[in-house]
């Protein structure tokens, strides 16, 4: 699994977009932009997907579907919100059926702005997602090696993080005291 970042599977789901961003995501896969040269490939199956691209704000009916797709994806996974609708709700933010951006339903890692998001920026988002995916899969390997479940591993990481923050704070306090003294 050393170089898994070279070929993640991409899954695209349309939250409630106006089509603009969907079509641009598809256009990324066609000859002129050709994101497939980066090793990513589109799939229709959430069970084998690594990167989830969400377009459009999330509406009431799409919410359970998006959650379900997210849960079906195996760990590690990365979520990319494509287009301003998926980032914040965009022009439809005030509409009665829109909950807001994709991050109201699932945790989003990378935000791609634009209305419609340009293929160039979508590809940029995919590249960043690939890097993050590589990082996460290394962590995942470490977790499997240590024989921990995801929950245990997360707890451990959180504790480590909390310790780091506490240490940094103590360091700061000490410095301040020195300065004052």
């Amino acid at each position: 699994m050393a170089n898994v970042k070279r070929s993640p599977w991409l899954l695209h789901y349309d939250g409630s977009s106006c089509n603009g961003c969907d079509i641009e995501v598809l256009a990324c896969m066609t000859p002129v932009y050709d994101a497939e040269r980066l090793g990513v490939e589109n799939t229709g199956d959430p069970m084998q997907a690594d990167i989830l691209l969400i377009t459009g704000g999330i509406n009431a009916q799409a919410e359970p579907v998006v959650k379900q797709i997210y849960d079906q994806m195996p760990r590690p996974k990365v979520v990319v919100a494509v287009g301003i609708c998926a980032c914040t709700g965009g022009v439809f933010k005030d509409a009665y059926n829109i909950k807001g951006g994709a991050d109201t339903v699932v945790p989003v890692d990378i935000y791609v702005p634009g209305c419609a998001a340009r293929p160039q920026s979508i590809i940029d988002g995919i590249i960043q997602a690939r890097e993050l995916f590589q990082k996460r899969s290394e962590e995942h390997d470490a977790m499997v090696k240590a024989g921990l479940t995801y929950e245990q591993y997360k707890k451990m990481k959180d504790e480590e993080e909390a310790k780091k923050v506490a240490a940094a704070k103590a360091e700061e306090d000490r410095r301040e005291e020195e300065n004052n003294g």
Partner: protein, 360 residues
Amino acid sequence: MAKKRSVVPFGPQHPVLPEPIHLDLVLEDEKVVEAVPNIGFIHRGLEGLTEKKDFRQMTYVIERTCGICSFGHGLGYVETIENIMNVEVPERAKYLRTIWSELARMHSHLLWLGLISDAFGFESLFYQSWRIRERVLDCLELTTGGRLIFSVLEPGGVLRDINKDQEKEILKQIGLVEEELKEVEKAFLLDYSVQTRLKGVGIITKERAHEIGCCGPVARASGLSYDMRKLGYEAYGNLDFEPIISNDCDSYARCEVRIKEIHQSIDLIRQAFAKMPEGDLSVPVKGFPKGECFTRIEQPRGEAIYYVKANGTKMLDRFRLRTPTFANLEGLCEMLKNCEYADVGILCVTIDPCISCTER
């Protein structure tokens, strides 16, 4: 032995569908006896936004009804407002609007050619169609700044001009599109395996198409000469064209009609550039609209109807949109009856469904 009936759900997330739509297919062995569509996955409540945005801001919201027919929706809306307020748009703006709508039609039809070839498994044909489509998108980007959503319309005219250099570039690009399309269309119209998937499949007879109110290329492929551009809105009244019809009534006919319409659009753009006069881009529009109006526009997918009710303040009372896909969904259910299960994917694509318009 009585045949067993089973219900198979199709969608909302399905590889042939770029957008979520759900169909419940009632099967008898491999035959579909009934199809019940279930829509609502992309409903955003766009019409309800009239309460929160004023009528000028609504132009930009309505353009975002759909990323493919975006220009047409904006056009239908501003025309309705102009009709209510009795605004006469300058001639040059009318021609510019016509040119942009035809470019949008070309990109929509090329996109559809790609989707249908993906549905019957011709991946490279899909790539070719989308490669040609990029030329059209380049033209649109050159003149409006956006690839899919242009925001160049305002009540009273247009916001951008097309200068001589850009005109030359567009004419050059559409010339190339014409040449390349001639190569690619051979595969669609003459290839044996494509014909086996399209010919004689998904028939809607002329009478039936009229009864259930199909529109756009679906109606024209069933022999109904029905094209809203013939109403002569914008500059269409000054251009010379005939609706393209076919009497075969099947999927092949729908494909043929769309390919010929791309050629027709190229021709219309050339005519429009030849006749376009110099002049202003827009007239100032003062005050707020009061009254109500219906407008009909020929979108790439068929006839769209726009209704606005205004009360003399800056907020509108009501905006309503009847989309072509809504009319054609009935046609889809008609086609799906008694078809083979394996054809469902292709048939769904042949009406060129645009779900995000339909559900808004």
